[in-house]
Symmetry: C2
Subunit: 312 residues, 2 copies
């Protein structure tokens, strides 16, 4: 698994720049609270070396909304300046305010990012579908369509704002291939299945490897999944292996690891495991409102990973 | 009603810099999408002239989270540079990221703002109480306690993150008078009543004038209410009038106006009414995900206001 950042062949067309496994890379912090840029860069390189097809930096798992806009701009620049291939990047650039979403999206497009993954504005709740459409439309108009490949980020249990099929259809009618895909983190397979059926031109990624195989079989593009921070090589292998016993065994293994992480709060658990893997304490640090695992939770995680023979 | 920006006498002590009616001032936009700074400044002056005890700028009604941090910093500077008394200001300075909350809060404290109204970080849901505490604690430690008077902003139906009595008690134990008060926009009177009982030293403001009288009678500090954008003089009068028939009539009138606005989406309705009042079309403009009233909604509002003999 030495291929670095090249999308898996099967799911790449002109309309589908991304396919395979993308990692919502965790963000390490220093003891003084700042972002540990050196550790972040090393980690992004390592993920690509491990077989990641892309890096969905600034995602939910990345604590992106706990970073300032200035910090996200600086990290994007860091990756580009240090030769992380821009085409492998799908940064999260959504924000509650259009001006900030525009600023970060413009920076990503200028840098040559393969795509951007865009949350709806997530402060107001029960907003009209027309308002969700207007946000994306204004963003696209102000960024410009040239070079923009926008992936919609549907995660209603966190954002409180759904990206409905009606909104997707309206955006596709208005902007065609600029609307490149969607990450469905709803955890609702019926929704993913419906989107795969109704929008065959979109690159659709479930937000968890639980639905990876079912999704691939129904025309999905891969997955963008939290545990890819820990097991990206295995998920990549699962995607690249043809249907059969070997694939089923891999799938079971991938699922068991996810279940182990989900016994405790997921993002702190992933940071604890990565901290152990690299022997770097700073990886454990989270920004409020997220908190480190308690001692008890850490033991629970360690035991669960040990039972699977994983160094966690 | 010519008093400008002085807190109503009854509810002011060393621990209670604010009392009376505070207005979460609407934010006007220009046709090009930018903030209409001149209209905003005029409006803030007008609100104080009408009897507002304070201006809770950058609130939910202000579409504050649809503004960039840079826009909020610029508006704060605008008000201060143009002699809006800093002691009358209680800007909303909360953010999903601690660094941005720190930056805006520091600016407010340096400007001499009477207080700041601080949302919890509102992206992640089901966060631990310890994480909510940690956010406020880190903000206070990094801003510094000198001159900081922090009002907690409890609006769980929008933020998705509650500020529970346990968190309030822990913050009071750690930071004493720095924790000056709380705005309870939950719309849940039982919660407001409990907070008034358990935290007598806090200046507690219901987020709606519906609970204003009950709250004042139970030791509340006043209210911070959306419709104060339209009827601040009447709410002020209601607060300043002693219990009796005249007060009851005022209360009924205030409530009927609120009910008229609530027939349609509240923030767009207030902007439409203010647009009519000042004959300035730009007041109608909202940022996504909020949308202007439809023609039908506008007619409904106009009729409802006309039935109350209000120029809307």
């Amino acid at each position: 698994m030495t291929t670095t950042g090249t999308p898996s062949g099967s799911s790449v067309t002109g309309r589908r720049p991304f396919g395979g496994v993308l990692v919502p890379a965790l963000t390490p912090f220093k003891a003084d609270g700042g972002v540990d840029q050196a550790a972040f860069l090393d980690f992004c390189r390592w993920l690509l070396d491990q077989g990641a097809n892309g890096l969905a930096v600034f995602g939910t798992t990345s604590e992106a909304n706990s970073l300032s806009l200035a910090e996200r701009m600086a990290l994007l620049e860091l990756l580009i300046d240090n030769k992380i291939p821009a085409r492998t990047l799908m940064p999260g650039t959504g924000a509650c305010s259009v001006p900030e979403a525009v600023q970060l999206t413009k920076a990503a497009v200028s840098a040559g990012a393969g795509g951007v993954l865009v949350l709806p504005p997530f402060y107001y709740k029960n907003v009209p579908e027309d308002g969700v459409f207007a946000y994306y439309a204004e963003l696209i108009e102000r960024v410009g369509k040239g070079g923009l490949r926008l992936y919609l980020y549907h995660i209603p249990q966190m954002s409180g704002v759904a990206i409905t099929p009606a909104v997707i259809a309206r955006l596709l009618a208005a902007y065609g291939p600029v609307i490149a895909g969607l990450k469905d983190s709803s955890g609702n397979w019926e929704n993913t299945e419906r989107l795969l059926r109704e929008f065959p031109d979109l690159a659709i990624f479930p937000g968890s490897e639980s639905f990876l195989l079912a999704s691939l079989r129904a025309g999905g593009a891969g997955c963008i999944s939290a545990t890819a921070n820990f097991q990206v090589n295995r998920i990549r292998k699962l995607i690249d292996t043809p249907d059969g016993e070997a694939r089923d065994r891999l799938n079971e293994r991938v699922g068991r690891l996810r279940a182990a992480f989900e016994k405790v709060p997921l993002i702190p658990a992933l940071k604890a495991a990565i901290s152990n893997r690299f022997g770097r304490d700073s990886w454990r640090i989270l920004r409020p409102p997220l908190r480190e695992l308690s001692d008890g939770q850490r033991r629970e995680l360690t035991d669960a990973l040990a039972a699977l023979d994983e160094a966690g």
